[in-house]
Symmetry: C2
Subunit: 410 residues, 2 copies
């Protein structure tokens, strides 16, 4: 399924990048193709993630980068997105002293690789500077700065900002403004409104030649350390480097409010719901399996049709002992003509699914049983398949551990 | 439950404002209390909702205001939020000619009141002007302008902008900037970045003295009609009125991208999950009901403890024939000691829930059955209650129609 670490799919899937020994397979330098200047020297690339914020806008106590999405801390998704990119050599995360231990256990639990920790400063800029200092000894050519709370960063935009930074010294992702920006007067009235077409929101990731950004931070005033919000501005002010602005995709948005956590969860659920595995167990298996797959195609966007491959993948996973980064939904479908066999004993005979599900839940696998009425009446059969497909789609989409272990009926 | 139309709760609930005859109970003028200037003349207030956009940023064909959230078009939530405020006399929605019929059927289906329709223009400003023209004959003192895609507007912020508009002629909600705003040069490089502390995002709702905004639109240039994005700016430019800026809550955000639809759905699900109804059916009813309620309190934020009241409310609803604006989750809980009675016949005896659920689904009620193992073993009993509570919480939170009609086991 995953031929090698470099060709891993851009969308989240079951991550196996933490597999032992895989680290050595990552090339240490930036690929020279895909948008890079012809003949430009391949350079080493590292990334710094300031993660010292307290998430006050979220309205919850846990800093937002540690809030859980599908039971896993948000920052783990961001780390996964970065470590999936094989040419990022080193990832420095700046966390507060009090969260250092929690961060270490996240790295261990989810098998993250190529991560170093630095201590966060009192402000975002101080945290980034600390991250850069950690890289100063074995300094990379280019450094990416990204937010811990932007989990959906793709390789494409990372490559584009890095390539632009190599050419211009600095580069950053931008997005169109969603709201008009206005400037208030001292008494809280409208002074003027900015022309929306002439302005952009500055987002992350950004990338810099290491010298450019390190020099900027070395010269940075206390005022800028305290109140500045924009790394590109520091590069301009202190290193006289005009950043190249790169139009980014909408997925780069920053998880800021509680509703953004919900949105992030939905985006992740949608992405991981594009591969499903249906295990049939009946003598009518082949035709029923085919019929169910056809109906499921309408309910879910993409259905992986190669069940064998997925089963092989699950066995490999089982043997490797790697952590599952997302809850995996498994639905055991049983077909049975309920006009020939009474329902109650059939259901009772499937009660083993309940105890098996309890075990599997501990391994982050959500197992459910589905009893499908395989009627001889064509219309009833179609209804059963339709309902069965809707149930499977709901289980896959909701991914609710509370509903695992049930025996459902269609 | 709902003493009168004016005291309706601010959070979405089961809306009954469309009840016949309720319209006459709405006072036609703004209450003079709550933040209004002492002695200020009560004025009439109307609202204009431009809803002619095509939602290109959403990446779906349906304009975003018509996208469905829990099976109901987004604009219906926004209309509900406005019509819940009794002192808003008239709500004009500007929709394109091709969506006029769809809009009429939404108004009818969800029982919206006090709505008039105007035809949308080619741009947002032209749509708003058309909405104002529809009010010109019987003109209100103050007009609120709001977006169809900001469904979570509360009475408090509406009152604050209206009160400020009465004093200053114009007022609008603002929010802190989430991203730094930058100004790009012609060659796509950073020209300068704006001081985030000195700028704000202009949001909705806004409010104006009718004369101020109507005069502004009457004088508005074609260029501003085409490319302008800010009503407050028009009031400043053409009516020389400096708008008062009012800090709004984070919930005012505009549903712009597909992820915002997910976020909106989660916000709505969370709000409507704060009242639940558990119907018990066993001789152990009282103690089991009490125990389950206690465990549920930990699983769900708020549990309405007065089941009778909710049952009465459901009967009233049944008699009134009003549409349910949100899917209602009903869980029939049956307790049974499975060491005394075999499971299979018990489950079979409850199969009537399946057909009842099919009927109720058509009325937007999601019925499920829960068989709870009422064991004499204290620890097993606690486990059953815990699992039962988790299942109920998941059903209430997910509100999935595909999973209704199932008999679940705890």
């Amino acid at each position: 399924m995953e031929p090698g670490p470099c060709s891993r799919p851009a969308e989240p899937g079951i991550c196996v990048s933490g597999s032992p020994g895989a680290g050595s397979a990552f090339p240490a330098s930036l690929p020279s193709g895909a948008g890079a200047e012809p003949g430009s020297r391949p350079g080493t690339v590292a990334a710094v993630l300031p993660a010292g914020g307290c998430g006050e806008r979220m309205g919850v106590r846990t800093p937002k980068q540690f809030c859980r999405v599908l039971e896993r801390p948000l920052i783990s998704y961001t780390l996964q997105a970065l470590e999936r990119v094989c040419w990022i050599k080193d990832i420095v995360v700046a966390v507060t002293a009090e969260n250092m231990e929690a961060m270490r256990s996240i790295i261990q639990r989810y098998g993250h690789k190529r991560i170093s920790l630095a201590e966060a400063g009192a402000t975002r800029h101080r945290s980034i500077f600390n991250g850069l200092k950690a890289l100063a000894e074995d300094q990379p050519d280019v450094v990416i700065i990204h937010d811990a709370v932007r989990p959906f960063v793709e390789e494409d935009i990372l490559l584009r900002v890095v390539t632009a930074a190599k050419e211009h010294g600095a580069a950053g992702a931008i997005r169109p403004l969603v709201s008009t920006v206005i400037s208030p007067s001292a008494d809280g009235c409208l002074e003027h409104s900015l022309d929306r077409a002439k302005h952009r929101a500055s987002e992350m990731p950004q990338a810099f030649l290491f010298d450019v950004i390190y020099k900027a931070y070395q010269q940075c005033s206390d005022y800028d350390f305290e109140f500045g919000t924009e790394c590109l501005q520091l590069a301009l002010k202190y290193s006289h480097t005009k950043a190249k602005l790169v139009e980014g995709p909408p997925d780069l948005w920053k998880v800021t409010y509680k509703r953004d956590l919900h949105a992030a969860e939905s985006v992740i659920k949608e992405k991981i719901s594009q591969e499903i595995c249906v295990v049939m167990n009946t003598k009518d298996e082949e035709s029923a399996g085919h019929l169910l797959k056809e109906v499921l195609k309408k309910e879910l966007n993409v259905v992986s049709s190669d069940f064998q491959e997925i089963q092989k993948f699950l066995s490999t996973l089982e043997e490797s002992g790697l952590p599952l980064l997302y809850p995996v939904v498994v639905v055991l479908v049983h077909c049975c003509d309920l006009t020939l066999a009474p329902l109650a004993p059939k259901m009772e005979s499937l009660m083993w699914i309940r105890s098996l599900a309890e075990d599997m839940k501990k391994r982050n696998v959500l197992l459910s049983g589905l009893l499908l009425n395989y009627s001889k009446d064509e219309q009833k059969l179609q209804e059963s398949f339709q309902q069965g497909a809707s149930i499977i789609a709901a289980l896959v989409k909701e991914r609710s551990s509370a509903l695992a272990g049930q025996l459902l009926l269609a």
